[in-house]
């Protein structure tokens, strides 16, 4: 398989960038691009202590697979893609998502990596609750999925 998609319980097993890069490596691929999302200590002026990720796993994994298939159609079949999204609570510095793309040339590797994260942010059923240093918590306002039909 050229694509690996996964929702992982990050309270049990942290995300691993080396695993992602190893998956997308292949003898014909000369370029690898990787993206990591990391819990930051602030957002919109508030001090953040940690973030909880809520995920509807079956549909999330399906959306990741669809997005990867679209990317390979756009940027070529030799492209290998790894996507793992965390589920559970992370403290500052924890990895929430790892995306890697391997390709013969760097243009496609960068483009695929960027495409996958942008699409996940707007299409995949994942929600983020920020926990602030002051004890408060809030669900991050998100992107509404395509309107009712």
């Amino acid at each position: 398989m050229s694509v690996h998609v996964e929702v992982r319980n990050i309270e049990q097993t942290v995300l691993d960038t080396s695993e992602a890069l190893a998956f997308v490596d292949a003898p014909g691929n000369g370029a690898g691009a990787l993206f990591v999302g990391v819990v930051r200590d602030w957002n919109q002026g508030r001090k953040v202590k940690g973030v909880s990720y809520d995920v509807f796993a079956p549909l999330a994994e399906q959306s990741f697979a669809e997005i990867c298939a679209e990317a390979r159609e756009k940027w070529g079949e030799p492209c290998r893609i790894f996507v793992a999204h965390g589920k559970g609570r992370l403290e500052v510095g924890g990895l929430s998502i790892v995306i890697a793309a391997g390709s013969p040339h760097r243009g496609e590797a960068f483009a695929v990596c960027r495409y996958v994260i942008e699409e996940i942010k707007s299409r995949s059923p994942v929600w983020k609750q920020e926990h602030y240093v002051d004890g408060d918590s809030e669900w991050v306002k998100g992107h509404a999925l395509c309107g009712h039909d």
Binding site: H85, I120, P125, W127, W139, K141, L145, C146, H148, D149
Partner: protein
């Protein structure tokens, strides 16, 4: 008939899921209507309005009909990554 709606994101304040009693062959619009009362208690009516419903395979159209025992998920606006 009875359907289950799994709750995600901001709706987690209402628990893991809700059991709803809805008319036979209810469609998603009717499921949405049945969610109004619990959503109102959590001040989530505006969020309900912009949420979608799905099963484990796809996001469902408003006209999609449900069956007894269906397990749906409510998907408020997403913020992954």
């Amino acid at each position: 008939m009875r359907v289950t709606v799994k709750l995600f994101g901001a709706f987690r304040v209402l628990g893991e899921g809700l059991e709803l009693d809805v008319p036979s062959n209810a469609n998603i619009s009717q499921i949405r209507a049945a969610m109004m009362e619990p959503a109102a208690t959590a001040e989530l009516l505006p969020t309900l309005e912009v949420s979608r419903f799905a099963n484990e395979r796809e996001v469902l159209a408003e006209a999609a009909t449900c069956h007894p025992g269906d397990v749906l998920a409510i998907l408020p606006p997403v913020s992954g990554g």
